[in-house]
Symmetry: C2
Subunit: 330 residues, 2 copies
């Protein structure tokens, strides 16, 4: 497929928000809708329901190989963004960020007018030495976003040994199965955020959850409101967990494509970071210019900290991106 062909037909290839390119199974969505009772739709439903709480606990215990998690250790949110916001609503004295990091942390920090400080990752990869105090709240995506790489357990443990609240944002957990859940037992200052927007193809329906010591969960519940997630969305999450092999199969497809894409980028002389997610990130001169040219060709990516972050789409979308990039880089 040549670049000129791409330019001649109006296409729209969305590789800018790390969504799941395979969509959510229609038959599951409709089945959950059919199972919703007319009265249940109209009644307030406290979130989380026991049903979704139990399903999440089973999933967490199985995937993290721990047994101490129960209903007091989790709560739910309208996606991971809402989880981030709920934690920031506890109004830490200082939010600590390690850029390049998830850009939406800045959105809420500014919206909620919080004090924050940035400490850049060393070589864009390693957490720097920082003196953390009580009253600090650290936000760290793991795998990191936009780089996609995993931090080492030792790096996370070092943060946990400080008096700060440490929020590990595991939005892309299902791509690596690596988690800090095992540290929760000994570290009351650890909070883990998860989302159904990536692996479970739920981005438009907003579902996330928080795992932390019961004392922290109680604090979050004191600001979240009783009914912060629609009952339909909770049922949808339960069904997705019960049918998880459907979603996990798609993740393997995405991983295969990510490996192929990384090779293609290397063949173009670029250096993608080692990713354990559904996106790749590479530093490049004139990132903004390249993004604009791609956008004119109907291909959407994101520029973050002078690098380009591109989501892994379906094979034909990824091909179109690589062809377009070849044309632009000449």
């Amino acid at each position: 497929m040549g670049g000129s062909k791409i330019m001649n037909k109006p296409i729209r290839i969305k590789l800018d928000e790390n969504e799941n390119p395979y969509g959510f199974p229609k038959e599951i969505f409709e089945k959950v809708a059919r199972e919703m009772d007319s009265d249940y739709i109209a009644r307030y439903t406290k979130a989380p329901t026991k049903e979704v709480s139990d399903a999440l606990i089973d999933y967490i215990k199985e995937t993290a190989r721990v047994n101490f998690i129960d209903g007091e250790w989790i709560t739910v949110s309208a996606g991971a963004d809402d989880a981030i916001k709920l934690l920031m609503e506890l109004r830490p004295e200082r939010v600590v960020l390690f850029p390049p990091t998830y850009f939406y942390y800045y959105y809420f920090v500014k919206g909620l007018k919080l004090n924050y400080e940035e400490f850049p990752l060393i070589d864009d990869l390693y957490i720097p030495e920082v003196e953390l105090k009580e009253g600090d709240m650290v936000f760290l995506p793991n795998p990191n976003n936009p780089t996609g790489h995993l931090f080492k357990d030792e790096e996370i443990l070092k943060l946990l040994e400080s008096p700060a609240t440490v929020v590990i944002d595991e939005a892309y957990f299902e791509f690596s199965w690596k988690t800090s859940v095992k540290f929760l037992k000994d570290h009351k200052n650890l909070v883990i955020i998860r989302t159904f927007s990536k692996a479970f193809a739920f981005a438009g329906q907003r579902f996330g959850y928080i795992i932390a010591h019961p004392e922290m969960i109680e604090k979050v519940n004191s600001v979240k409101g009783d009914y912060n997630v629609p009952s339909f969305v909770m049922k949808l999450a339960v069904k997705a967990l019960r049918n998880r092999s459907l979603f996990l199969g798609k993740i393997k497809e995405i991983e295969m494509e990510r490996l192929r894409m990384a090779e293609e980028l290397e063949n173009l002389g670029l250096k993608p970071f080692p990713s354990q997610t559904n996106f790749l990130y590479f530093k490049v001169k004139n990132a903004e210019e390249i993004k604009d040219k791609l956008s004119e060709m109907g291909i959407y990516v994101r520029v973050l900290w002078d690098g380009i972050r591109v989501s892994i789409g379906k094979k034909e979308e990824n091909d179109a991106f690589i062809e377009a990039l070849k044309e632009i880089l000449g």
Copy 2:
């Protein structure tokens, strides 16, 4: 139906949250689910969509008989509770409440650790004289909750002439068609909250909206996050508005039942407040004790400021409540 009969079979009559007793039409719910595209479910969808924004604008303009409202004047939330929270996240210096008032205001005031002050309504009906300052944020349900009565336009205008931000919570708008929307044009400090949880039988699915001057909407959008409402829920709201006569017909049923119930309560020597909502409120000695006895009989109501608030349910539910109350009051 006798009280003893009620006590002999396990019933559960929920008259404690002012939900819509007729439920949400299943066929509409399932139709919207069928119309959701697999890819659309999985993609982030900025809230509000143009579709739901346009539908809300048409509805507001028609029901308030104004023409100055456009997309810049509204934003959406996960129910009215989320709208309340979003406004409180702007962190006013003082929240001003007029009890008896909506009890959930206190929940968020406390959760978000805001400064607040209470000025009781005169005779539980009229807004007292209060000196309001810039930095104040007034929350006032109209019709009021738990009393159910409407405040006069003059009372609201008096608040609006102060430098405070005045939030009028019109959760029960569809029961009276009375609104302060007409005051928005001349009062930048006015904010109106609405919900789909009552008239539109949506409580479990969480949808609300805020109407205010574009400057205020911009402030709210700076804290709300781009994706705060599921795309499915926005589609559901559009469909509900397009089928609104279905819901309005049920409101007329509820109103008829409310009139009948008020008479029944008066026959018991009680004095229900004049309600323009789907609930009634009356002061009574030993309100807590009566509530507990009703609860033992499977009938749930709420005690607020030494009075009982009871939702208007279906005819047979209301009958059961009246019979039980007769038995308790002896």
